[in-house]
Symmetry: D2
Subunit: 399 residues, 4 copies
Amino acid sequence: MEILKDNKPKHGGRLNLKRTLNDETGRQQRLSQIENLCGESLKSFHFSPVSAESLKGNIENFIGSVHIPVGLAGPLKFNFSESQEEVYAPLATSEGALVSSVVRGALSLTMSGGVTTRVLSNRMIRAPQFEFSNVDESIAFCRWVQNHFETLKKKTNDHSSHAVLLELDTKVFGKTAHIRFVYSTGDAAGQNMTTFVTAGLCKWILEHFPIQKGIEIRDFLIEGNLSSDKRASALSAIDGRSRSVVAEAVMQRQVLKKILRLTPEEMVSRFSRSKSSRIFTGQIGYNINVSNAIAALFLATGQDMACVHECSVGEFHIEQQGEDLYVCLYMPCLIVGTVGGGSRLTSAQDCLRMMDCLGNGKADRLAQIIAGFALALEMSTVSAIGSGDFVQAHQRLGR
Amino acid sequence: MEILKDNKPKHGGRLNLKRTLNDETGRQQRLSQIENLCGESLKSFHFSPVSAESLKGNIENFIGSVHIPVGLAGPLKFNFSESQEEVYAPLATSEGALVSSVVRGALSLTMSGGVTTRVLSNRMIRAPQFEFSNVDESIAFCRWVQNHFETLKKKTNDHSSHAVLLELDTKVFGKTAHIRFVYSTGDAAGQNMTTFVTAGLCKWILEHFPIQKGIEIRDFLIEGNLSSDKRASALSAIDGRSRSVVAEAVMQRQVLKKILRLTPEEMVSRFSRSKSSRIFTGQIGYNINVSNAIAALFLATGQDMACVHECSVGEFHIEQQGEDLYVCLYMPCLIVGTVGGGSRLTSAQDCLRMMDCLGNGKADRLAQIIAGFALALEMSTVSAIGSGDFVQAHQRLGR
Amino acid sequence: MEILKDNKPKHGGRLNLKRTLNDETGRQQRLSQIENLCGESLKSFHFSPVSAESLKGNIENFIGSVHIPVGLAGPLKFNFSESQEEVYAPLATSEGALVSSVVRGALSLTMSGGVTTRVLSNRMIRAPQFEFSNVDESIAFCRWVQNHFETLKKKTNDHSSHAVLLELDTKVFGKTAHIRFVYSTGDAAGQNMTTFVTAGLCKWILEHFPIQKGIEIRDFLIEGNLSSDKRASALSAIDGRSRSVVAEAVMQRQVLKKILRLTPEEMVSRFSRSKSSRIFTGQIGYNINVSNAIAALFLATGQDMACVHECSVGEFHIEQQGEDLYVCLYMPCLIVGTVGGGSRLTSAQDCLRMMDCLGNGKADRLAQIIAGFALALEMSTVSAIGSGDFVQAHQRLGR
Amino acid sequence: MEILKDNKPKHGGRLNLKRTLNDETGRQQRLSQIENLCGESLKSFHFSPVSAESLKGNIENFIGSVHIPVGLAGPLKFNFSESQEEVYAPLATSEGALVSSVVRGALSLTMSGGVTTRVLSNRMIRAPQFEFSNVDESIAFCRWVQNHFETLKKKTNDHSSHAVLLELDTKVFGKTAHIRFVYSTGDAAGQNMTTFVTAGLCKWILEHFPIQKGIEIRDFLIEGNLSSDKRASALSAIDGRSRSVVAEAVMQRQVLKKILRLTPEEMVSRFSRSKSSRIFTGQIGYNINVSNAIAALFLATGQDMACVHECSVGEFHIEQQGEDLYVCLYMPCLIVGTVGGGSRLTSAQDCLRMMDCLGNGKADRLAQIIAGFALALEMSTVSAIGSGDFVQAHQRLGR
């Protein structure tokens, strides 16, 4: 590969990574070189439970795998649109107390009748940037693109059988025009899919707009950073990115008191009071620790772990409802796939199987299960903090 | 464990998780039950490369491990304070093209003379919340706590041999007082350590303040959500959380053109133009995709993956410097540990060994290496987007 | 007025405000009482250049006026869509150096060929909140409302001859549904207009939805805080609120050097460098001091001064363009009216007249003029800071 | 003035503003010219209640004044640290219903025992930016500056008799160093004062640092945008800017029901529910409409109206307290002056006199009064929205 041709040993300390060898031999060679270089035997890498050949499209310069322990949490009763089910979830984590905490929260939700989850929208986004001579040209361009929505929607089929163009959102910043292409992407997370499709659509735009309107496109970037891909943002919190999911439940007073050791009144006063701390933190969304649940479930199911950054934005809300407690977690941007990407890893496939989430037609289910377990963890943690159990649980389990 | 006593089978669909069995027998029993429940053979879990016994403190309800492929990236030349070194980094990821992209960016930095990294600060935070009758009492409380800083600093030793109390930051919100306890935590990430220490210090405060000042503390939470633990926030971006690290480099014009295919002028105009998109996204910090590098290095080295959410905040900056390009990445909150937590996993230990980052005295080094590789990825991605290589690379490697 | 009936003197220190007297007699009585109470002669209020009777709908408990000095700035050449004009603007301010600074910036823009301004959108928003029993009901409600967009659009005419319903944006947060009603409001700022219209439309919704769908609306608020009315927000920065305006110009190198004392290269390196400070401030949008221009022009022209908070969000961008400097200011939420509200004040009418901005059909023009002068101030201030003139100018003019 | 020399008539449409004439003659000449240009008689400007000569330091190119009506609101009972008082406030506004709403809220607070207000801190900030060759130099610079805090604190006296240097906060962004100089500024708002003092201190730094450390300072800006001057920001919300003020009260159930027409339970459930809308708006701080109160009181008392942008950030909180309602408003950045700036305007002086807030030693009082009245308005508006009075009140008073 041309751009890597300088990546050859120039002195004793450099490895010869031979990236072209995507097989066990290549893996062994690379591993042995890095062992020599660092002067250590890297025993956990000697045996690879995963074959190099099976990882095409997932990794380059493969040297072996890290093994992350998985704990089983549940049952958590889900009230889906079509069915009610108790679900167990595999949580991949090395943080002691996390699985126990989720189990406790799930128990409290299940005993109260379960969690209701719904997918509100599904929007994956790619946002190229176009450069013109002045603002009138960028306005003209945005209008033209908007007027060609139906054409672009049809052309999407030329590039993908899964992506559906839902919306074109245009932003003019002086002579620069940003177009947010919003797609549904079936059961794939869809970042790559939308990149390729958008590149294809932009090729068509770059050809046809200048001819039709006589305006030169002076520069073009496939992404002007407006998709907010890989970055937590107010935009994604507001508009949603990938799946927006809501999880709600009515926690029974007796269950709260028995399992979570607080009354609804105590929960409300303590939590709402802490919520005012938001002016001192400036966070996007408010929750206690949804990132813990997101990370553990993403890791188990082969999701892109970089997305933990953007996907862990969520708003957690509680309020008294009669004698009981209404609780709600809104997750605006859960980027999950049950096909493609890391979901092809064999251990990820097994974790998806455990929850009946593997393959086509399952991404909505997976997103809802993640949101439900995230709510379970929120309930457990917020009550542990409120009741004083938090410190003890971590001393017992997390040291 | 009392709170789990209801977690027994109530009907056929429920597992008997027997959480007390933290051994291979328990693991097999749980695995076999979930296989029965989901009706699938979960083959990747049958053999566990990690023993249940070794995972005490890292997981509950252990059923096996997921295996995430690791690719080797580098060399990247680091100009540390004390030495210059070429470093190879293990990236755990299932996202194709990521390792290649980091390799390309690292090459461009290395050929330009390497990346200079520095740790600017090291602050782990726990922030309890205290409730009083009115604002005068909460003000009096904050003053009293501030006046006892030296006492509290000494008492920190009673609870930890690693934590050092650096600062007490008090926030009054009416009758509620928040105290941010800021610690250095040696080479541990330190979230649990600071929880235990702060709990100990608060015990002392809860006893002594009411007696000395005659003011009742009406409520107390070990965390009022002001530590911003597990949540990306403007506060952590501004003040830093755990290690704040800067990585800078001067990219030579010839290297830029040859490896990254753009001139400094092209980089500056395209990147700065896209930067104005920030008003349309409302993100905290600005960068292209540091979360990719953070996630891959955190996962390889056993860091808490939930922290990818808060740790992936960063500000990436480029400017022309004479004929060349000055580049800088500021990562305000890199929470890493080279002892404790997930760094005890055997595969994590091997990954840390590869970079000479295992054990005491190595956390600063690890944080800097992560920031350096994150900058390498930024350079590669921003230039790939700018030069049009982005789509092709993902089509070639990431499908 | 019933709710004020307790507002009678209960002891010597209380005034008898007699709110019903909206005439000069009432004004004199109130003034004389407050003079007695504070024991001072409030001379500047003795003569009122504005009659109490003329202020119906603008003030209650009228006691007189404050007089804010107005300075004339310009000329600034505008390249509007339809014409090119040099405009002078009245700036109401007590901050020395502000008018001079705007004059300097306007001169530099005018000598460079003027500023191009365009209104990109016009959206005033009111966002009621509806409460249901569970998320399925709130989803059903949002769908029903969306399906009745055309009906609601027609019904808008029953309540206002100016408001046009452009869009309904629905947000589901568990059992709570928020509907953002987006209107164009002609030449009025439109906050009150959209309140009344939305109240009317909601009345219809509250009657018809329960009957048609058999779902009870358990609670209703005319505003659930999602309009972001009176509050600076990422939402308004992203989506726009009232008029979104862009102002751009190409500053000639020679003009920059002569008038603003910096080269394009110096401007770019200094400004882009400071822009990275954004990670340390967490502000919405980035600019130097547009609030100065907004406040002075809003005050002169009778705009709602509370809107200075939300309207002063803006993104200022500069980049080298050949030998010259391209500059752009994006103001996403300029809430202005040339009819109604404070534009009815006689001095405001004169200020609007000076710019040919009074009355129907003029709000787009006013918004553009404000954005243009805000850009002029940005250019002056950023260059004054960059060239070292900033301190001296304030010492000379602002003490 | 040199930079304005091109501001002479170049064609018929240009004015000859003759800025040097800071007297009535000059005013008349400018006014007459603009009347000729726009072809209108600007009658409200013919008579000026304020003399041109008295406005030196407040305005350039003076042509007259705008007259903004003032309504009297109150009484509001304040529980200051040292005294209890009922206060009436002059609100300058053209927005109908605002004064009435404040009166209603003030009544409810007063009948409940009044509002308790406290100033928590007082910090005005100027933040110069220094440029070096690399990050090691900028780190060395920040350390050196920190080590010279006492010296710089003493030198502050050479430049101002009011400013006191409280803190130096340093931020390293690669080769760029930002220093936040934090001062108390007595009873002046202090933006200009801190500019001049900081310029003086930087002159000393620019001379002494290079000599002492042998490191060249390659560039210097008096402001690198880190003071957040004139811009609403998370930083100012977190750290405070100028005066941070808290206002709290316990609203009695009977008063709430009678005056504000809601029970504490209704207030809590409706308000806390709407608070979750924050994830959809991304605003800094949460409140209903404090900007209305800030703008009206700032305008009456001669404050810098551009500061309405940054000063209107606030966090409003309510919670049930037994049978009653605890309410709290935190205003982190109230920038007010009772000497200097616009407080010298004669009508501003009268408004300050009404509240016993004129002159030295009064800025803390003014800041507290503003926060108290802002809380009164919050109570009135949130309850009007909650009880359905909001629409009616605006229809009655604000059309």
